[in-house]
Every structure is written in structure tokens, then in C-alpha cells.
């Protein structure tokens, strides 16, 4: 385990719209922090020893870092696109490694079994071939040309469609998913998973979405995504070992796991190991 390599990254620590003066006591990588609104209405994040931490307000959330971020927060250009609706899905705590929460989000093969009749259904279980790369220019993991048959791909979908996905790991605990937008085929719906690492085996997950959907109520959009994520939660809490294994000795991946393998390699390369198991036990 090493905190150091991940300490300069940005992490989500709250919903911007829910900031208040009283503040929220939470944790970031084992350090107690307080997320509050100051006298001027600005977000203020205080670290364990009372020091002020850097703050950004972006994508509906408050972001901070325990170290000195060398990069700006990763871009999501769709967040500035007119006509999209932005959905703060709300925090869900999961007793799992923050890295496992991200890895599960990258997996397509579990759809028919965990999200039955929504994101997948038997017998349509095949994960067709897709492309994965670590993009050196932006230092991100990307999976493209992912296709999957889905009975109800989105709240706005009526009936089954073959959905196309792109997955992107933009930071060690943040991932962005682009998927077919049923009402507007030329655009992608954007669904993110922002993960706040509390400890190596506990995280707060802040899903956020930027969708084209003028029909569905905000509450229905929130509930659709909460349904999906809460189906994942019980699986995540039962994964063993609790830390994400980076030692290839323990597991035999299949082709469907290409994204996961690239993510793990990328983590290892950068020494992003908070929440990882380095040597198989």
C-alpha cells in the first residue's frame, strides 16, 4: 500500500448543492476532513490537522486533495454541453476497496446476472470483442467499441436495444462511461462513478450523470441509477480478497476482462495502490 502516489489526485467529497455551514465530517484516505460552506458561500475543506485543503467545484460535486495536485481535474466536455440534464444521484457507502468499485463499473460481463432484465438478460451473455488502450497523451484507460444487448438500457429506452459503450478511467478512483443515448442517437449519455476513498476497504460512491432526456422526471432518473448501483453493492461487499489484487498470480482473466486488466496495469504502473493488494496471499 502506498498513499503517496495517489495523494496528489482530486477526490469527490460531497454534492455541491448540499453544502452547508455546519459542515460534513468525513474521511479521505484515512484522514478525517470537514467539508463545509464558508461565510462567503464558498466550499471549504479542512484536513485533519486543521490545514485548508485545495477545493474545486465541478460536475455537481466538491473535490479536494490531501496533497498538491499537479494536474487540473480531468475534463468532461459534455458537462458544458447545452441541453443535457445533470443528475446528482447521491452518495452510497460501500464496504469495499475504492479500486474494486471502479473495476466493477468497467465490467460488462456481469450485466445479465446482476442487472437482470435491465442492463442484460440471458441468453444474451456474450461480450463481443472490443478495444482497450492506455492513452499515453492523456494518461487514461479507454475501452471502446463495447457492444451489449440490453433489455432496458436507460430510463429513456423502450424495449431492448444493442447498446454501445465507451469506458474511460480518468483518475485512479474516477471513471466515466459513454453509452448510446436512446432519444438522441448522435450523442452519448455520460454516466460517471466518482469514488471517495475513505479507507483502503471503505468508500463513498458519488454517481453523477449528464443525459439527454427531456421526458423522464429527475426522481426517476435518480432511481434508475440507484437501482443499478445498489444491485452492484451487495456483490462488491462480498468480493474476496477485499483489496484489489494487482499480482497476476491469483486470477486467470478472460477476454471479457480486457478493461479490468488494463486498469490494473495502469494502477500498477503509477503505483496507485491505495486499496490494492500487491502480492497474492
Amino acid at each position: 500500500m502506498s498513499v503517496q502516489a495517489m495523494i496528489d489526485e482530486w477526490y469527490p467529497v460531497g454534492i455541491a448543492a448540499q453544502l452547508d455551514a455546519a459542515g460534513r465530517n468525513t474521511m479521505l484516505m484515512g484522514e478525517p476532513i470537514v467539508v463545509a460552506k464558508d461565510a462567503n458561500g464558498q466550499a471549504k475543506v479542512t484536513g485533519g490537522n486543521g490545514r485548508l485543503l485545495p477545493v474545486k467545484m465541478r460536475y455537481g460535486h466538491v473535490w479536494t486533495s490531501l496533497g498538491e495536485p499537479k494536474k487540473d481535474l480531468f475534463p468532461i466536455p459534455e458537462a458544458d454541453q447545452p441541453g443535457r440534464r445533470f443528475v446528482d444521484v447521491g452518495v452510497v457507502r460501500v464496504r469495499c476497496s475504492p479500486l474494486r468499485a471502479v473495476e466493477n463499473f468497467l465490467d460488462v460481463a456481469h450485466f445479465p446476472f446482476v442487472h437482470t432484465d435491465i442492463l442484460g438478460a440471458e441468453p444474451h451473455t456474450e461480450v463481443q470483442n472490443y478495444k482497450v488502450e492506455i492513452r499515453e497523451d492523456v494518461d487514461e484507460v479507454w475501452a471502446t467499441q463495447v457492444k451489449f444487448y440490453q433489455p432496458q438500457a436507460a430510463k429513456s429506452a423502450s424495449g431492448g436495444i444493442t447498446t454501445e459503450y465507451m469506458y474511460r478511467v480518468a483518475a485512479p478512483t474516477c471513471t466515466v462511461l459513454y453509452k448510446t443515448c436512446p432519444p438522441r442517437p448522435s450523442e452519448w449519455d455520460v454516466i460517471t462513478l466518482f469514488v471517495q476513498p475513505l479507507t483502503e476497504e471503505l468508500c463513498d460512491v458519488w454517481p453523477w450523470m449528464a443525459l439527454f432526456d427531456d421526458e423522464t422526471s429527475m426522481t426517476d432518473l435518480i432511481h434508475f441509477q440507484q437501482t443499478i448501483f445498489l444491485q452492484d453493492r451487495s456483490i462488491l461487499e462480498n468480493q474476496i480478497p477485499r483489496l484489489l489484487p494487482l499480482d497476476p498470480g491469483m486470477e486467470i482473466p478472460t477476454r471479457a476482462d480486457l478493461t479490468s486488466i488494463a486498469y490494473r496495469r495502469w494502477l500498477k504502473r503509477h503505483n496507485y495502490t491505495y486499496g490494492a493488494q500487491l502480492v497474492a496471499q
Partner: protein, 219 residues
Amino acid sequence: MKLYDYILSPSCYKVRLMAALTGVKLDLRPVDFHPGLEHRSPELLALNPAGSIPILEEGDLILTESSAILVYLAAQAAPEWLAGTKPEEAARVQQWLSFSGRLTANLGGARLHEMLLRPGDIGALQAQGIAALRELEAGLVEQNLRGERFLAADRPTVADIACFPYVALAPDGGVSLDPYPAIRLWSRALRSLDGFIEMPGIHRLHELKAEPTVEESKA
């Protein structure tokens, strides 16, 4: 019949499940419980000053207690889900309906704390939840000894539906169900009922493969 509903609420799920099992059609009105806290909005507080969901509305009738809603649905559509005429059975149904309120407080409280960061003394909630599960396990074992598979009879009643969701979701609050074989069998019996519906965290039973044909031995 309008149900003010939250997809992750076990108490709302009781109503959806009962309606599905008895063929009642509900008009669902989603409530942004999390993160929006809509159940404490003026509109909903006017319906239910307790600030809780589910709320069932039909004409002049407003029901805010899930057990009462279960009884209302059953009385309308499927009276066999209510207690029969035997005094013990009637009493057992009431016993477990009341008991289900404890499950909401302890296992439900632990789940809200562990999952949606609601305040609470997690150690006490989990300890009370475990005590309640042990009581339920003992009750089910005694029922099995009487030759009855469900909480109050050999058929499912509103009492089973009242207790099932918070029990099945105990692991969400960090309380394991591993030590309770009678509860697991009971859960399986409920999940195999015709018309059963799931909610996030409560999975449907996997379809069982057909029994293999075993040739009779000639030996």
C-alpha cells in the same frame, strides 16, 4: 391506488411485493428520499406528519403504516393472506406484524447508516438486529416443528411480507444471515412464490435446471 414509493425502501417494497403477489395494480409516485429528502417536503408532510414512506392513497383513505397497507391490499384482493379464524394464527399474524416494526428500527436503521450515511449508533442497531434475527429464527424453527413453513401458518400471510424485506437486506447493514438456516429456507420459500418481484439487494431465485432423469438401478 397511489403509492408514494422509493425504490430502495424495504417498507415500500413490502407494498410493491404484496401488490404483485395479489395482483393489485399500483400507481407509483416516486419520492426522492435520497439525496433529495422529499419525504420531509411540505407536500408529503401534509399527507404524513411522521415524514415516512410508504404512503398509500385511495380516495379519502390515506395509510402511512406499511402493515396497515398490507392488510388493506390483502383484504381487498386476497383474503387468504390474512389470518384465518384460529385464535393462535390470528395472534401470530399480529405478533409478527408488530415485530416487523422492530426490524425497521434496528436492521433498517443499520442499513440506512451503513449505506446512505444516516445517523445512528451502529453497534447498538446491529446488536438489536441480531437479537431480532435470532428470535425470528427460533420462531421459524418452531413453525417447522408444527409442520408449517411460514411465520403464522402453512401458507404465507401478510406477516411474512412484513418481516421479509428488512431481514433479506440485513447484509446491507453489515449483519450477516449466514447463521440462520431456517431464515434462509423461509426466504427461499417466499422468493419462489408466483408473482414474486425483486428489489436491489434482493435477488430472484435462479431458475433451477430440470431434474436429471435417473434410471432405476437393475442391481
